[in-house]
Symmetry: C2
Subunit: 245 residues, 2 copies
């Protein structure tokens, strides 16, 4: 079994309204049915106009208090609060729950790789919808029946460093359940839910880097691309099953 990851390079800077599926299809070596196309959140957000200029944001007293405590820009903190339903931790950094249910630093509001000192990107409003739209548009353009994952880099408790994770998924199951299947010795596997979409996203982090302009990666050799199932919500642990909220 072989899996390959191919960087999609040479894309121009993405503007609101750009056809990301067309740009990815054109700049990819090839996109075939069964491939998984992973697209960085940053370009999806830019194409969807999920950009804010900090100079247009006025900070509330609450954002100013938090910003002082965290030594951050109050306008940035205001946007983080606007993009959050709950603060999980506020110590050195804001770790929040987003309306999607993601728990991440700064609600995914990000200053990096954006043109303009005061411009930030916000997470897509509906990452599954973004993945589905990209999947369908890639099919329209080139006929390939693919899965699409929208990825972003997340930090983790307990471990140093960020890894790419899957925000939106369409065209394959995000999680595969092996519970009850026999292992090599016939013993039923007990707790084996594999976060396949997160593993794929993490793999593409190796190709995307951070200071390289690789907004998409074509992953070939993945089982289970069906073109119709899947959601990034499968990867979100329900609060009642989460010991670390």
């Amino acid at each position: 079994m072989t899996i390959t990851l191919d960087a999609v390079e040479g894309l121009p800077e993405i503007q609101p309204g750009d056809d990301v599926a067309a740009l990815v299809t054109r700049h990819a070596g090839s996109v075939r049915s069964g491939d998984v196309v992973v697209v960085a959140q940053k370009v999806v957000s830019k194409a969807e106009g999920r950009l804010r200029d900090l100079s247009t944001v006025s900070a509330s007293p609450r954002a100013r208090r938090l910003a002082k405590h965290l030594a951050q820009d109050p306008r940035f903190v205001q946007l983080v609060l606007d993009e959050s339903v709950r603060i999980v931790r506020q110590d050195r950094i804001l770790i929040v729950e987003t309306p999607h249910g993601f728990i991440c630093a700064n609600a995914g509001v990000d200053r990096s790789n954006v043109d303009g000192a005061d411009v930030v990107t916000l997470l897509p409003l509906d990452p599954d919808g973004s993945a589905r739209a990209l999947r369908n548009r890639i099919g329209e353009i080139g006929g390939a029946d693919v899965a699409v994952i929208i990825s972003d880099t997340f930090g983790r408790p307990w471990r140093i460093g960020q890894v790419n994770a899957a925000l939106g998924v369409f065209g394959m199951a995000a999680v595969v359940d092996h519970r009850g299947e026999p292992d090599d010795f016939g013993t039923p596997l007990q707790s084996t839910l594999i976060a396949v979409a997160d593993e794929i996203a993490a793999a593409t982090g190796l190709v995307m880097g951070k200071a390289r302009r690789v907004p998409a990666v074509v992953v070939r050799g993945i089982d289970g691309v069906d073109g119709r199932s899947g959601s990034g919500r499968e990867l979100i642990r329900p609060p009642e099953l989460d010991l670390f909220r």
Copy 2:
């Protein structure tokens, strides 16, 4: 930029004392300098004799109390306590800190894919040492200057499903620090430590599966294989920087 992941298949069941490096080298299509060879903890533990038979374990009163609370085998719980320095959570499942500093379920004590109903594997005592020994032995056998990662599947807070993570690393930096480097627009990146070894391990989870006999994966196309640096300890967040212990 292209990265490939090749499953190493067809290995026999590993016995204590087996030369895993020789078996992997023989069963891999090819192993070249610059490759990263990821080996599943399970086979490293078996080769290193890190196996216990539950029938030889007697549970302490504490283990019996915990086992009752968790509805688990008291002897299994005893082994988890023996392999732990601290319990982080004890609610449905034991999440502990191991002597290495890993925070994981059941201290990595695992019943799956082991021959014998009562036999379990324990994590390697020194995963970096295991990685270094495998790396050196692969070089001795075939002359290839590789990096080695010992991986295991870990659950995560907040997100459903397990992903493969790096326990031991030798021959490449486990974490790459991009802080201060310019992004595409010249703005210095702020918080960009990338957990490269975890991303590689996660990628190999796609090939290893859980009920397939793929104990190793050869990863080609990774930058930064130097054959001498690296440690899984780079990936462990120091307690004073961890908001979720």
